[in-house]
């Protein structure tokens, strides 16, 4: 019998016992719906976590450190490659070389130091970091109050929320409700901060000396003060994930560099000449696309530097979500497994009911394959309908969970989030899975129907 005929006969048979077949199909739908809802939630959560990380603006950034620095992000890098003494210095020429690598937008040094900032006469100690002007377009500043730096060399500062709270003496106690950023910004924007820092300058005899002997590498440390204007207060932490030292005050990078602030790395690198060729503790390399991360990392490692990227850090996160999705998928499939028993039951009942009909068909010349095909087509049709309705149902459940969660989030003064996501492959996959499960369930009933002895079946009343 042709597939078209099997399908047509199967559909008419399904219509004949409409109630029973509908109930079975609803069973499949519930199974598929739970699978879709579970997986869409898992995928949604993964996307949410991914988005949070992407907002840090560091998915497309590789952090380069010198092997001379003797501090590394992982042991593997320490064991491979040249020894620290043979490896190149991470200085201005090296930075320029990094910038010339393909698919690199920019390479900028990490300038950060701990220093004292005075606000309305009282001192506050914190980590200050330079921020490249390109960060202006970073998602991290979406929720910022005020504005970004007016130029790359302006004496301006953007404060992190926690520091703003500290300046105003509003540091929230544990468990107390969060202070609104816009309130903090109102009393801080446009006001002045006094930055005290120590500048590292070459001593006079070094600049006039002809050779770069160890003796001539002397420098002096001079204390300076600089007035900064507060232009922005940021809710999110634009510096998150970047090493252990978190900055809470940000200056334009060029401006920060021009201050020649004494950096921690200078202490370890005293033999080098200051001023003429600046060396950096680390350089951030920003790429055109996160896809290039691995290739660029490899290229930089070949140059003899150590690298670190968020992609490394998220590898374990992706692993976690893969396991989570697997478990959610298994739980979701349980309902489908129960539904598949429903299919077996319905079809076995149908065989009992249609025993005589099967006998007649065989007497008329239907082969075993024809009878089998008919029951398969019925199981498959239930799978298709069940799958389609189930996907719609799962989508609706996911949406309701999402709306419910967002109502709750809004009540708690959090921004709404999309915690549920249904990709097209999940829709197609769920329907295909439902059909496969249905066909597998039809396997036993179909072969049982095909094996029926026509003489016995015709005698059956």
């Amino acid at each position: 019998m042709k597939l078209y005929d099997s399908t047509e006969l199967a559909l008419r048979n399904l219509r004949e016992s409409f109630l029973r077949n509908s109930l079975t199909t609803i069973g499949i739908s519930v199974g598929v719906a739970s699978l879709v809802a579970m997986l869409s939630l898992g995928i949604g959560l993964q996307k949410l976590a991914g988005r949070r990380l992407e907002k840090s603006g560091l998915f497309d950034t590789v952090i380069v450190t010198s092997r001379r620095d003797l501090r590394s992000f992982n042991r593997e890098q320490e064991d491979n490659g040249p020894s620290p003494a043979d490896s190149p210095a991470l200085d201005e020429p090296a930075r320029q070389k990094l910038e010339q690598l393909p698919n690199v937008i920019e390479a900028y040094p990490d300038v950060r130091f701990i220093t004292e900032l005075r606000f309305e006469g009282s001192p506050h100690l914190t980590m200050v970091a330079g921020l490249p002007f390109s960060s202006k377009n970073n998602d991290a500043f979406d929720g910022m109050q005020g504005s970004f730096f007016s130029s790359d060399s302006a004496p301006e500062a953007i404060l992190q929320k926690s520091f703003a709270e500290e300046l105003l003496g509003k540091t929230p106690k544990r468990g107390a409700e969060d202070v609104n950023v816009s309130e903090l910004a109102k009393s801080l924007l446009g006001k002045e901060l006094v930055l005290s820092y120590t500048e590292r300058t070459a001593t006079a005899n070094t600049s006039s000396g002809a050779s770069e002997s160890a003796d001539s590498a002397a420098y002096s440390v001079i204390r300076h003060q600089q007035i900064l204007k507060i232009v922005g207060v940021s809710d999110l932490d634009p510096d998150s994930m970047r090493g252990q030292a978190r900055a809470r005050v940000f200056l334009p990078l060029k401006f920060a560099e021009s201050l020649h602030v004494m950096q921690a790395s200078d202490m370890r690198d005293t033999t080098r000449l200051p001023g003429s060729v600046p060396t950096y503790s680390n350089v951030s390399v920003r790429l055109k696309s996160p896809k290039n991360v691995q290739a660029i990392e490899d290229a930089i490692k070949k140059m003899g530097f150590n690298t670190f990227s968020i992609t490394d850090a998220t590898r374990s996160m992706r692993q976690f979500f893969a396991v989570l999705d697997l478990f959610l998928g298994i739980f979701g499939s349980l309902a489908l497994a129960v539904a598949s028993i429903g299919i077996v039951n319905t079809l076995v009942m149908a065989i009992l009911e249609r025993r005589r009909e099967i006998g007649i068909m065989k007497a008329l010349g239907a082969s075993d394959a024809d009878v089998k095909g008919l029951f398969f087509a019925e199981a498959g049709a239930m799978g298709i309908f069940g799958g389609a309705v189930g996907v719609a149902l799962g989508w609706t459940i996911g949406r309701i969970i999402n709306i419910g969660t967002n109502v709750y989030l809004r009540r708690q003064n959090f921004p709404p989030e999309q915690i549920w996501f249904v990709p097209w492959w999940l829709i197609a996959g769920a329907i295909v899975f439902s059909i496969i499960v249905s066909l597998l369930s039809g396997l036993y009933p179909a072969s049982r129907a095909a094996r029926l002895d026509p003489v016995q079946a015709l005698r059956y009343e």
Binding site: L9, R12, I360, A363, L364, G365, D368
Partner: protein, 250 residues
């Protein structure tokens, strides 16, 4: 076709010492017990016997619905025992048409769909099926009732529809199991006239199971009587002799 003329025809059905035994608990039931017979192409044979005599079991063996315990059944040259399940299904589809006492139409289908069903198994083109099914229904006078379901029809009409279905794939052998058993005598006659017509005009071989001797005498050319699974009598009927005489006179 009269038996004497048919005797020159090739053998349609050959049974050689056919047995069909069933084990029912301790007891062995010998439904068919060593029957040998020959049916020539174009013959109209009635299998007579009381209930339990083995006539329906023999018919099922000829129909390829059942396999003999021993002996062999050869229909139009092919030994049914040597056919695979698939080949046996093809044999039932193309060589045999069956009519049952209880009509055996599928109740969820219309008359048209019932008649069309064997063509679906034979994979006849969809566009040819409609015309063929309508023609078959017209032949038994049911074209106007094609959209009715079997339960909406009288017994006689249902049996006519099942005749139309049996003929749809143009089989050479029509097997009828008590075709008038559930009908009153008037509609029974009507059905028998159709069967006789198929025998005479289409040259179909007919094997009909019945327990009504009068019916067999009137329509069949040959009567084979069975009792306890054994063949006890095989002879030409009076109607065959009459027909022969009629032919001789003319």
């Amino acid at each position: 076709m009269p038996p004497l003329e048919a005797s020159k025809n090739p053998i349609a059905v050959l049974a050689e010492n056919v047995c069909r035994h069933y084990q029912m608990g301790e007891a062995l039931i010998r439904a068919v017990d060593g029957i040998s017979l020959e049916i020539r192409s174009g013959e109209f044979v009635a299998l007579l016997g009381t209930s339990g005599s083995g006539k329906s079991s023999l018919l099922n063996l000829i129909a390829g619905l059942d396999r003999p315990t021993s002996g062999r059944v050869v229909v139009h040259g092919s030994d049914l025992a040597s056919l695979s399940r698939v080949e046996l299904a093809k044999y039932r589809l193309h060589t045999v048409g069956m009519v049952f006492q209880s009509f055996n139409l599928i109740p969820s289908m219309t008359l048209f769909e019932n008649v069309e069903l064997p063509m679906r198994f034979a994979e006849v083109d969809r566009n040819k099926r409609e015309a063929l099914a309508l023609k078959a229904l017209e032949r038994v006078g049911l074209a106007k009732r094609k959209k009715h379901r079997p339960t909406e029809l009288s017994g006689g009409e249902q049996q006519r529809a099942s005749l139309a279905r049996a003929l749809i794939n143009q089989p050479r052998l029509l097997l009828a199991d008590e075709p008038t058993g559930n009908l009153d005598s008037r509609t029974g006659t009507e059905i028998m006239n159709f069967i006789r017509e198929f025998n005479e005009s289409l040259g179909m071989t007919i094997v009909m199971v019945t327990h009504e001797r009068a019916l067999a005498e009137r329509y069949a050319g040959r009567m084979i009587s069975l009792a306890d699974g054994k063949l006890i009598d095989d002879r030409a009927t009076a109607s065959a002799a009459t027909a022969m005489m009629r032919r001789g006179e003319s």
